[in-house]
Symmetry: C2
Subunit: 229 residues, 2 copies
């Protein structure tokens, strides 16, 4: 019985993570200032190498956890990047993953220790290697996902206003949405609970807070749907 494909070349496999967060300023990504060569001091995605006995999904989760302290975050694989000299040190193929997290939820101390920082997607610095391309592709995927699955859940605080949800979608899609049309389309999904409670920060009148209805949300995930915003 064969126990190796001995003639084939082996390569390093990296995993790079595009971590999206959202706050009142808009859609953000988590970047890290590299403290090792090459490109020490430049900004990069958080990443790491795949271990011998680890699946890619696990590596992505491990890396996210290392830098944010977060667990149980849904991550989605995006694409494998393989340009020969994408990493000048050594031939490395990188598989990118993206995650959506609640920006208030992570471990701020960890982030600080790693010299990590949140940047608006509109004014993030240039990144090392092909990381800018990864980010652009992640944004495209996020937009697509928005049109086929309810999103927000992961990116908003537990209780949120319609305006926050609207602004999240506007930030993701990078276009203005009509408030009334948006609200009626979201309501037609029937995945929100309207609370009695109001948020009084934003206006004198106050605006109702909502939570996601997890059961209905899961139910919706089962069937395909298209949300045209």
């Amino acid at each position: 019985m064969l126990n190796s494909y001995s003639t084939a070349d082996k390569v390093l496999l990296a995993v790079d993570c595009i971590i999206f967060g959202f706050d009142h300023e808009g859609l953000k990504i988590l970047l890290i200032k590299r403290d090792f060569e090459p490109e020490k001091g430049k900004w990069s995605l958080i990443g790491g190498f795949l271990k011998r006995d680890e699946v890619l999904d696990h590596a992505a989760i491990r890396i996210l956890n290392t830098y944010t302290g977060l667990n149980d975050i849904y991550m989605e694989q995006l694409y494998a990047y393989s340009e020969i000299d994408r990493d000048p040190v050594e031939r490395t193929i990188s598989v990118s993953y993206y995650a959506l997290i609640n920006i208030e939820n992570h471990n701020a101390e960890l982030i600080k220790n790693y010299h990590a920082q949140w940047f608006s997607i509109t004014d993030a610095p240039n990144l090392i290697f092909d990381h800018d391309e990864m980010v652009q592709q992640a944004i495209r995927r996020l937009r697509y996902r928005t049109s086929i699955k309810p999103i927000g859940f992961e990116l908003l605080p537990e209780k949120f206003t319609m305006r926050q949800l609207l602004e999240l979608y506007e930030a993701i899609l990078s276009k203005e949405l009509d408030k009334r049309n948006f609200i009626s389309k979201i309501n037609s999904l029937e995945i929100l609970n309207k609370l009695e409670e109001k948020d009084m920060q934003s206006s004198r009148k106050g605006s109702y807070l909502y939570t996601f209805n997890k059961e209905k949300y899961e139910e919706k995930l089962l069937n395909d749907f298209v949300l045209n915003l």
Copy 2:
């Protein structure tokens, strides 16, 4: 200056290709009977290993060329599969690609030499490793692509009838389409040239032949669009 990430593990990277073709019987995939261990004699996707100085796209094209003799075929990367024991011989991560080819165009002799064979997607045999999953995912991706880009080009002979195009879309989407609605939707894309010439195989009346209008097709590719069939 660093010249290796010495502590990281290296792995084998394979590329597996889902090759779609289409003929009067429907949508097909090209499979190969393995002539080496493990799983010798079982059916599998065509595949191979990434070489040290090769990008993934190139490996996919090289593999396609090896088995079909075809060049200049557009291939799209799908997904990286990394289950620990997906290949029982040795830890191997596989990146899948899919291609659409004109089933009449490949090198039949090559195919025969490699014990390769076309199978309808509806009655293909079970495949080795996780290749069945790869095929299912490729079909989903193909369906999605259908909704955002004109397709057919690659899968039909140069001149084709509306019926052939309709049947292609029906095979891909695995559902019946209304002929009149289909024709008017396709026509509204304005990517076809209607020829004077008729195909007389299919009926006494004969049906007009069409070709793709490459310029308009390319133009359409630039802008996003959604085709709801």
